[in-house]
Symmetry: D2
Subunit: 161 residues, 4 copies
């Protein structure tokens, strides 16, 4: 049985460094035959899915609206939900663990849900936003892990401890 | 781009005739390279997914709970949602049309959502339950279509009119 | 502890007879110190809430969008949910029983949810739409009751059997 | 028209200081004829509702489960939603602003939703948990405000700027 890993972060990204981090996380996850769960839209979601496809991985996008056309071009299976940002809970429940790259308010909701549902959370340090604010914090007794690189993030999310 | 078709009906089915109808709907959808959306559990959902897999189709199960282990063995991609029966709306939004086999209260909610979101609905006559109660009815100005056989149901759901 | 009763039906109503039925259901529920749960918008929801207010009852509207301004003027407490038609499940869960007046696809979803969550359902005969289609039907082993008048509908919804 | 204010924080609270902060926030909100929105359960939700009732305010609890009996004894209107923690989005949408006292993962999701839906967020400094981690932070260009006392938190949440 393959693992499903959720990757989250901002839907709008200008910094090429962040795009590259997301791309390399996707490429690395593909090597481990992981199925990618993401929000299906732009920014981090698009670049991680692009990396997955370059590595021949499978990508799933859980969309907030009612149409598959909202999905970015690297999504294999698009699931429109029609429940707006309440779909953020599904993004997290559908994965076995969560990697965080940068991120704003939506990412904050997803980290909260990940901790509620006991999913391991690994943020990539230096990716800005919510990832850097919450790196290595403990919330409600649950630890948010951090990684220095995409490779290390994927290693940590797939390891048992 | 492949079509996504949702198939709905009871999660508990004893009648071998209904199991066979569901199986043959799956087999027929697979011939048309459709992606199957269903609730991922037992009964109609299991037998339609079994037909899809025998036809080498792709099956997606949108689950009410929080664990992929709820899915039946014929589901390729399982998406646990954690929102209980509110996931019925997603089952329908995620498809381009809906085929109905028998069915009880949950199926009723899904037919309602299909009409709200302007999805074509085709029920299989003689499959019992909600399918037979609503065959050929018009609700809120929207028609519920009917078919005599699995083959005809798949033809109708994939046709333009 | 007061009872909470949900009243459902079309959001657009032209027929003065249906408006009057909804109004009289509200007036009658108010006499029994029931709290009204409804979808908070127009049509049946507006006229039942108007009846409740004329009887000094309390009215709650569970809205599909993100703003209280969606509520009709007879709603005391408006709860915008932001989850679109998935809020139909909440309308039903929040009540102890459901009265149905006419209704289209949305009403169909709510009757389905009422049966799933074992809420008593009483439709008013002659009010058209889904109410007349499903009057006295049994779905998944669960009966949909019917009443001839608003007074009888309220009596039935509040009685034990 | 009254304002609706959401108060969030941990459902389990041992520290009498935190209980007292929550109680005094409720008492203060009641003075301003605010309607309280909260998650309806224990801890911060219970103590803020207790303060509201001592001040003769109105309290609404948006519950994760399917039964009103989940609500604490200070809730006037209980709305069970049946969508588990996805109801956290509703808690926030239903209010005009959010006061945060301590809090864990669920509170994190609610702060994220508050920022997504442009609700003002005021955390009470020194209340621990998520409130202290996010005090005065800016996420996705949106500021999280802070207050030193319950009175100041209520003042800030009700002021225009």
């Amino acid at each position: 049985m393959p693992k499903y890993i959720t990757v989250i972060g901002s839907s709008i990204v200008f910094d090429p460094k962040i795009k590259d981090i997301a791309y390399r996380v996707g490429l690395e996850l593909a090597k481990h035959n992981v199925i990618l769960i993401c929000g299906g839209r732009g920014g981090v979601m698009e670049h991680v899915a692009r990396g997955m496809k370059d590595g021949n991985g499978i990508t799933i996008g859980i969309l907030p609206g009612v149409s598959r056309s909202e999905a970015n071009q690297y999504i294999d299976i698009a699931i429109p939900t029609g429940i707006s940002h309440a779909r953020n809970m599904i993004n997290v429940i559908a994965g076995d663990g969560v990697i965080v790259i940068g991120g704003g308010p939506g990412t904050l909701t997803e980290i909260g849900y990940a901790l509620i549902f006991d999913k391991k959370v690994v943020v990539i340090k230096g990716s800005g936003g919510v990832a850097d604010i919450l790196a290595d914090k403990t919330i409600g007794g649950k630890k948010i892990y951090s990684a220095e690189t995409p490779t290390q993030a994927v290693e940590k999310i797939l390891s048992r401890d």
